[in-house]
């Protein structure tokens, strides 16, 4: 049971960490100043959540590791972030459509997690709900804007959706750890979120004139730490400095 809580929290922390890392690639490259700052702020919020979760996971592991140890000294076969978070950002339209899929899920998920019997997770979750409410408003309004803009903005948006949709199924995957913790009132039953998420996403896509691509199967593998080729590069960049100077102090 103790392992399940560690695994569960680690997975949530990894997902936030890799997503924040991807989003921060936009820093200095935003389409214009205001959006550059907006996305940087959003990335910062998500890093904060990652820190809280990984800090708790390290505590649960009980081996004296810190959140920095977990973030910077694990290899890609030890990471459990969802595959959708490690996909390339692409253009702004693709980043926004991916973010809308994630934000819609995260708001539903963390709202439920705020009721968890584990008080630390509940605390992190209720703080996150306020942040995610804003993130969702931001990504949703951009999706609608791109979908109703020009021919180019729409076609980039649809292309982005076509590329990312196959990674949305994994959001709802549960394994033994989930089921163990659901019994204890700690984890969220993801099945209960699926219908609401589908309704909200379909509604958003309609407003943006998007067509949901036909998929033969949904990508998966992160529960077993099986990742796409991108994670290796993300970690190499993220971990390079701590690994070069492992005892550095700020």
């Amino acid at each position: 049971m103790k392992d399940s809580l560690y695994n569960y929290t680690l997975r949530l922390g990894d997902t936030s960490l890799i997503l924040a890392q991807r989003l921060s690639e936009w820093t200095g490259h935003g389409p214009f100043l205001e959006e550059d700052l907006a996305l940087t702020n959003i990335a910062l919020d998500i890093f904060g959540r990652a820190k809280g979760l990984l800090e708790y996971a390290a505590k649960k592991e009980g081996k004296g590791r810190t959140e920095d140890d977990l973030a910077f000294f694990r290899s890609d076969r030890e990471f459990f972030n969802l595959l959708i978070t490690e996909q390339p950002n692409g253009d702004y339209a693709k980043t926004m459509i991916r973010q809308s899929i994630i934000d819609c899920f995260d708001l539903l998920f963390y709202t439920e997690l705020a009721k968890s019997k584990d008080l630390t997770l509940a605390g992190i979750a209720s703080k996150s709900v306020k942040e995610i409410t804003y993130h969702k408003r931001h990504s949703f309004s951009w999706v609608v804007r791109f979908g109703n803009g020009t021919e180019e903005s729409f076609s980039r948006l649809q292309k982005g959706l076509n590329e990312i949709w196959a990674y949305s199924g994994e959001l709802f995957e549960m394994n033994e750890d989930d089921h163990n913790l659901i019994k204890e009132g700690i984890a969220v039953d993801l099945d209960s979120l699926k219908q609401k998420w589908e309704l909200e996403i379909k509604d958003l896509f309609e407003k943006a004139n998007l067509v949901i691509p036909e998929t033969l199967f949904m990508q998966q593998g992160s529960r077993k730490a099986l990742h796409s080729e991108y994670l290796g590069y993300i970690l190499a960049e993220m971990q390079s400095i701590p690994r070069m100077h492992p005892n550095a102090k700020w």
């Binding site: 205001e34 700052l37 309004s141």
Partner: protein, 96 residues
């Protein structure tokens, strides 16, 4: 500069606490009201500057011109009787 490339210019005002005046803190470019409001939040409230935001299209602001400063504002300089400094507030009133 091509106007289409950046959107319109909006002035941003932040209110620190309820009841206090909104203070001008800067401006930004945005294409519509919703984006202007979100961008104002992202740019000007990072350090807890306030609890409420106003955004106004810069083109909506009517400003006095520097040439008018003389006729607009100088005549009130020598009318000190307009200030409330000569009035003694009776003790019973407390704070005003």
């Amino acid at each position: 500069m091509n106007k289409d490339s950046q959107g319109e210019l909006w002035e941003v005002f932040v209110q620190k606490k309820s009841g206090q005046p909104f203070v001008h803190c800067g401006n930004l470019h945005a294409y519509d009201k919703e984006m202007a409001l979100q961008n104002a939040r992202d740019l000007y409230t990072r350090r807890g500057e306030g609890m409420s935001l106003w955004i106004v299209l810069s083109s909506s602001i009517v400003a006095s011109s520097p040439e008018d400063a003389g006729s607009f504002f100088e005549p009130s300089n020598d009318k000190i009787y307009r200030h409330p400094t000569f009035y003694q507030i009776p003790d019973g009133i407390g704070h005003m």
